[in-house]
């Protein structure tokens, strides 16, 4: 299994007997300790910028105790994805009683996960240092890596545009979110999505066509749920729940993959908390709460349209509700809970509304 194909990177002038070069990016940089609280991540990290050039499906694992645990190491690696090749880097300068290994994963994402989970972890009494070693890539490896990255970004941009379009649709509906800040952002989004070539008629797009690419925006299901209401009020809840269920299962892999991607040290530390928070909140909100929330929204919107003047025109655009949704849960305690939740959410919302989202104009510096 140990392959001889993975040769050390051989320069034009250097032969196969040369010691593999120790590059600067192999070093473990000093952890930065001077970050202010708000920029602190979950783990102490060095000040370093990750680009696709630095990433690779080739990993170097340093600090493996020299006690014949190669199989165990590769088994550990294989937890994160298929390992294509591996070999010990005997020539690489290693600390006493440790070994260095080169591991080539089939996919970059596996290497990313392996690095994230194995770096600085103890292994048979030693502490592993795992780093990318893009210098082992062939030209073809590099080409494919860049190609994959580019198409990933374009796919993400496309589904984002689609998501924004759909958001536009839902935002126009009578929800309580028609604040100045959101509508301002919608405008910029509209501008952004113009070149995507799609018409804004989101209602015609099949809801499922967009599922596999990116998790739906959380609003989505409440839009379709409402559409179903036209047909059958009794099944509305069920359908809503069903949709939520689908979305939740669809969202989880998406979320986890995004968090695994971001936590591999690619993004600034603080983003971990952001993505992870999001993931956990999406996951743990019970479905009944979603339903209550949705009901509250509709009801609130209806209430708004009677009393509130500003932003009402916008609120009335879009598919209209056939009737006011039920407010009464026909049970005293249920009603109390509903109003409690409603009030809390109102508070939460009003806080988020106050936050200024106006653009910060950066004075362009002279170059």
């Amino acid at each position: 299994m140990v392959s001889k194909n993975m040769e050390a990177p051989v320069g034009n002038s250097s032969g196969c007997w040369n010691v593999p070069e120790v590059y600067k990016h192999h070093e473990q940089r000093k952890v930065c300790i001077s970050r202010p609280k708000y920029r602190e991540g979950r783990k102490a990290k060095a000040v370093k910028v990750y680009t696709i050039n630095l990433e690779s499906r080739y990993l170097m694992v340093q600090g493996v105790p020299a006690i014949g645990v190669m199989t165990e190491l590769i088994q550990l690696c294989a937890l994160y994805g298929a390992v294509e090749e591996y070999r010990p880097l005997d020539e690489y300068p290693a600390e006493e009683f440790t070994e260095v290994y080169l591991v080539k994963f089939q996919k970059l994402t596996s290497a990313r996960a392996a690095k994230r989970h194995m770096d600085e972890k103890s292994f048979y009494g030693g502490v592993l240092h795992v780093c990318y070693v893009p210098e082992y890539e062939t030209v073809e490896d590099t080409r494919l890596k860049l190609q994959d990255r580019r198409s990933y970004i374009i796919r993400a941009a496309r589904s984002k545009a689609r998501e924004n379009e759909q958001k536009e649709g839902t935002n126009k509906e009578p929800t309580a979110s028609g604040t100045a800040t959101t509508s301002e952002r919608i405008i910029t989004r509209q501008v952004n999505t113009v070149d995507s070539g799609n018409t804004s008629g989101t209602a015609n797009i099949s809801p499922y066509s967009s599922f596999p690419l990116l998790p739906l925006p959380p609003r989505e299901h409440h839009y379709y749920g409402r559409k179903n209401e036209h047909m059958n009020i009794l099944t509305e809840d069920k359908m809503g729940t069903l949709h939520t269920a689908i979305i939740n299962t669809q969202q989880q892999p998406g979320q986890s993959s995004s968090s695994s991607q971001s936590s591999s040290g690619i993004n600034g530390g603080t983003e971990h908390t952001l993505t992870l928070n999001q993931a956990s909140t999406v996951r743990f909100v019970p479905r009944s709460t979603n339903l209550e929330n949705r009901k509250r929204k509709m009801e609130e919107a209806a209430g708004h349209s009677l009393t509130d003047v500003s932003g009402k025109n916008e609120l009335l655009i879009g598919p209209k509700l056939p009737e006011t949704p039920k407010l009464d849960m026909e049970d005293e305690s249920l009603n109390t809970t509903v109003s409690l939740i409603r009030n809390t959410l109102k508070q939460v919302e009003s806080i988020s509304d106050i936050k200024p989202v106006e653009k910060k104009k950066k004075p362009r510096r002279r170059i």
Binding site: G11, N12, S13, K24, C32, S34, P36, R39, V47, V49, Y50, T51, I52, N53, L54, E135, E137, T138, V139, D141, T142, L146, R150, Y152, I153, I154, A156, A157, K160, T175, S177, T182, R185, T188, N192, P218, R219, H221, S258, S262, I266, N267, G268, G269, E271, L274, Q278, T281, V285, T289, N290, S352, K355, V357, K359, K360, K362, R364, R365, I367
Partner: protein
């Protein structure tokens, strides 16, 4: 729950805005470096691209390319490398005449910066920008890089030559290279004392030191000029290409 997406988006936007504000307000170089690295890493995630372009972070990164602090240049270039993958950000960078600024980074001392610059140039290639990016000077530089000893630099330059231009273009430039040299991709020395050491060590020229008089303190640009003349005088020798190898 139905609000979660936009609320989360708001938070993210605000957080990024806080970073940009801190970057502009702080006087501490260290804090600037940290924030810049943060922003550049955020640019890796396509979720943030929209917010970053709203906050004019592409321009912020471009501004960094002309800074004296090499970390600023490296992080800014890394950020651009990440951002330019996205078609919208790519267009913003192109509109801010980013090609020239990025091209200048090909002459940077740090390999990481040069690598980011090459990838960024590849990302910036569109039907309308192609002619500028496949300028003979840049292709010459890529040809030199494709002979470099560093495998990463070599691979990336080869990919550039394969993907961004035609074989005819490469052949044409190869011919031109017999005649004259351009400066792109040759690191600009920091000061007089280290200039020639830097050049000679980077190009691993055995026994050629005599071309540069080390006893005379020269202005970097004069040393560069001498260096090119040296290369020119060597271009008649059959294996002059080996001169261009990076050490």
């Amino acid at each position: 729950m139905s609000q979660k997406g936009s609320v989360e988006g708001c938070d993210r936007f605000e957080y990024l805005q806080t970073l940009v504000t801190e970057f502009q307000d702080t006087d501490s170089e260290e804090a600037k470096e940290q924030v810049l690295a943060n922003l550049a890493n955020f640019a890796y995630d396509p979720k943030n691209m929209e917010y970053l372009s709203q906050l004019q972070v592409p321009d912020l990164f471009l501004d960094m390319l002309t800074e004296e602090n090499e970390n600023f240049v490296e992080f800014g270039m890394g950020g651009l490398c990440n951002l330019s993958m996205d078609p919208e950000c790519r267009d913003i960078i192109l509109q801010s005449s980013g090609i020239n600024l990025v091209t200048n980074c090909l002459s940077n001392q740090r390999e990481e910066t040069v690598l980011s610059a090459i990838t960024t140039l590849m990302n910036l290639t569109t039907p309308s920008s192609r002619s500028q990016i496949t300028d003979p000077a840049i292709l010459q530089c890529m040809l030199r890089f494709s002979l470099a000893e560093s495998p990463r630099l070599r691979n990336l330059a080869i990919v550039f030559l394969q993907e961004c231009c035609t074989e005819e273009q490469v052949a044409q430039v190869e011919q031109q290279m017999q005649g004259q040299q351009t400066a792109i991709g040759i690191p600009l020395p920091k000061d007089e004392g280290t200039a020639e050491i830097c050049l000679c060590s980077r190009y691993s020229i055995p026994g050629r030191q005599k071309y540069v008089d080390s006893s005379v303190m020269l202005h970097p640009h004069v040393i560069m000029k001498n260096f090119y003349q040296m290369l020119l005088s060597d271009s008649s020798t059959p294996n002059w290409e080996t001169i261009c190898l990076w050490s």
